[in-house]
């Protein structure tokens, strides 16, 4: 067990990273326009964190410390991505990085539980469309061909489904807050 004046051991660092990995991924996602860039950033950031883990004094400081590293790596990744695609400017990403630091602990987990409930209320076809963009490049276009629809109409439908999910998550969290 770590004490406030000791550095984290390897096992403790690994446990903390795994526990907070999704929060760090969501943080990076707010700063970067593609999942590829997010995954690269997280990988680079994890290497930096591992090397610098002796800077950490206790567990409670892990998430803010890790976010600072992710932020630095995300800005670096943004510059690489900006060579071949349209991205937001560094100024606005810096502001987003600052504000995303304030995300309350545990919010992502609450939203995940709510979203899982909401997903269960959709049909298999709808879930398939929602998941398509994450599973392969051009996943929506491929689904359009399979379902005999235009890709354009499926993108519109996807947008509406995501909007519905967002609404459902907010409503579910609000109802849960009322009952607690």
């Amino acid at each position: 067990m770590s004490t406030p004046d000791s550095n984290l051991g390897e096992a403790e660092w690994m446990r903390l990273f795994v526990r907070h990995e999704q929060e760090l991924r969501a943080y990076a996602r707010a700063l970067l326009p593609t999942w590829e860039a997010v995954e690269d950033t997280l990988q680079e950031a994890s290497v930096v964190m591992w090397k610098k883990r002796d800077q950490l004094e206790d567990e409670s400081g892990f998430l803010p410390w890790a976010k600072v590293i992710v932020r630095f790596e995300a800005l670096r990744a943004r510059r690489a991505v900006a060579r071949d695609r349209l991205v937001l400017t560094e100024d606005i990403i810096s502001i987003l990085a600052q504000e995303a630091m304030e995300t309350p602990d545990g919010l992502l987990e609450q939203e995940r539980c709510a979203l899982q409930k909401c997903l269960k209320r959709l049909t298999d076809d709808h879930r398939k469309l929602l998941f398509a963009p994450y599973l392969q490049e051009g996943g929506v276009k491929s689904l359009a061909e399979q379902t005999n629809r235009s890709a354009n109409s499926l993108y519109k439908l996807l947008g509406r489904l995501r909007g519905k999910l967002k609404h459902c998550v907010a409503q579910t969290l609000s109802m849960e807050a009322e009952t607690t």
Partner: protein, 485 residues
């Protein structure tokens, strides 16, 4: 026209999906600079995207492991399909009501809309379900409300019929009409009139006529096909796109989105195909004009399923003599546009599954304007009767308690309706206390099992299972929905 915030939220979505152009990124950048709320929205959208990303990967891993370890059995017996079709309507109602947690803690539990359960339980060749008919006469016998509809051709000689597809698409037809169900997501209207309501998530639903292919963009619209090769399209709400039929030699050919003709809300077009694909403006018809007047949706009811019927009054004989034949829950539309001048006590007003009906202390605020419906049930059977009612507006309160019913008779009830006066506390639903759910007291008015009410998450759909003493019992409840006024 989108509001400023929804436009930016759409841009955030597009940015994260990687489909924004240069102008859109500049617009998003500016909005994010100026508006902290939009920055918060982007950060929240990133969290949602992250969770979806994780769920997508988990689902893919699960699917792969099932594919390898647990091959799905192949069911080929037509007899199995036929038997499944026969029981599926009943199964749906039971599923709707019984698979829910009970008690006050579950009041906020997610209630699955009726339509969602079907795709999992319907046999493979069933693509839709007949949910309601009014004076319908079919060329083929045996089509009953609640029945499954399989792929094939249908002729509706007269009357109206409502069907619901497995993915939630809702089609109301007016006879005479000839149509074909071609697939789980495809209706082909050869002649006749229909109104289609395809929900936002009606993935891949296709409506075709001999002259056109209609793609719905989250709307409600009417179609009329006459014998002279013309298709009329009336857009009741939202926006639709109409295309020329696909080339039958190249059914999977991708069309350019620009070839579609967009028709906006409140507009109507007639498609002529003689001498090429062309259209002309025609006068717009409302849903009612397309489908005629013999419809329960004029009464604010958009779906009746199970043992439910609409009735215009409750007479003295209705109170004395249980309904003959198959018992049904009767829906009596009462007063509309009633302004509640003071707080009104109701039994409950939230989504959930309820099995006891004591006083809850819940109130509808003064100033709410409501339409009222009385639900009435008697039976000689002593067995639970089930049904589902969907209203076209949200329910604001349900009154299941006898004293609350009496208190609102003068408010919502129609003049000339006979309300029960000698049923004591048993006019409403039973039991009245949580501990009676498992151990119901010996009653005269209650049946052998507790009554049960389920209110959907969106507060528009009511699932009922009611049960009365064969001789003396009567069940009534009053539903107050938000007034159209």
């Amino acid at each position: 026209m989108k509001s400023g915030n929804s436009r930016i939220e759409e841009l955030i979505e597009r940015y994260q999906m990687g489909v924004t152009d240069e102008d859109e990124v500049a617009e998003l950048e500016q909005a994010l600079k100026e508006n902290a709320g939009m920055r918060e929205a982007l950060i929240a959208a990133a969290r949602l995207d992250t969770i979806l990303h994780e769920e997508a990967l988990n689902a893919a891993v699960d699917a792969e492991s099932k594919r390898v370890d647990f091959p799905q059995p192949i069911i080929s017996s037509k007899a199995v399909f036929a038997a499944a079709a026969a029981v599926v309507a009943l199964a749906l109602l039971i599923q709707f009501q019984d698979n829910r947690p009970t008690g006050p803690d579950s009041a906020q539990a997610l209630v699955t809309p009726v339509a969602e359960s079907k795709s999992e339980s319907a046999p493979r060749d069933t693509v839709a379900r007949l949910v309601a008919v009014v004076d319908a006469e079919w060329r083929d016998d045996g089509l009953q409300p609640g029945g499954a509809l399989a792929i094939g051709g249908f002729v509706l000689n007269r009357g109206t019929a409502d069907m619901e597809f497995n993915d939630g698409a809702r089609i109301s037809l007016r006879g005479p009409a000839v149509f074909e169900l071609k697939a789980a997501n495809h209706l082909h209207l050869i002649s006749g009139k229909l109104v289609a309501n395809i929900p936002d998530d009606g993935l891949g639903f296709l409506l075709t006529t001999p002259q056109s292919e209609v793609i719905d963009l989250g709307t409600e619209f009417g179609l009329a096909v006459d014998g002279a090769g013309r298709t009329d399209v009336h857009v009741i709400s939202g926006l639709v796109e109409v295309y020329e039929p696909r080339n039958p030699d190249d059914p999977l050919g991708m069309r350019s989105i620009q070839t579609g003709i967009k028709i906006a809300e409140g507009q109507a077009r007639r498609l002529e195909t003689d001498g090429g694909f062309r259209l002309e403006d025609i006068p717009f018809h409302s849903r009612q004009e397309i489908l005629g007047n013999q419809r329960f949706d004029n009464l604010g009811l958009s779906l009746l399923r199970g043992s439910i019927r609409v009735k215009d009054t409750v007479s003295k004989s209705d109170l004395k003599i249980p309904a003959s034949g198959r018992p049904r829950i009767e829906v009596i539309p009462e007063r509309t546009g009633v302004l509640l001048e003071e707080e009104t006590a109701v039994t409950f007003r939230s989504p959930g599954n309820y099995r006891y009906f004591g006083a809850s202390g819940q109130m509808i605020p003064a100033g709410t304007k409501v339409d009222s419906y009385l639900l009435h049930f008697r039976s000689t059977e002593g067995e639970p009767i089930r049904g589902v009612i969907k209203f076209d507006r949200p329910i604001v309160g349900l009154i299941c308690n006898a004293n609350q019913l009496v208190a609102t008779d003068a408010l919502g009830g129609l003049h000339g309706v006979n309300f029960p006066s000698n049923y004591g506390g048993w006019r409403g639903l039973e039991p009245h206390a949580p501990d009676q759910v498992q151990n119901p007291p010996s009653t005269q008015g209650g049946g052998g099992t507790p009554d049960e009410v389920t209110v959907s998450q969106d507060m528009t759909t009511l699932g009922l299972s009611v049960n009365v003493h064969p001789i003396k019992g009567v069940d009534q409840l009053r539903v107050l929905v938000l007034s159209k006024d």
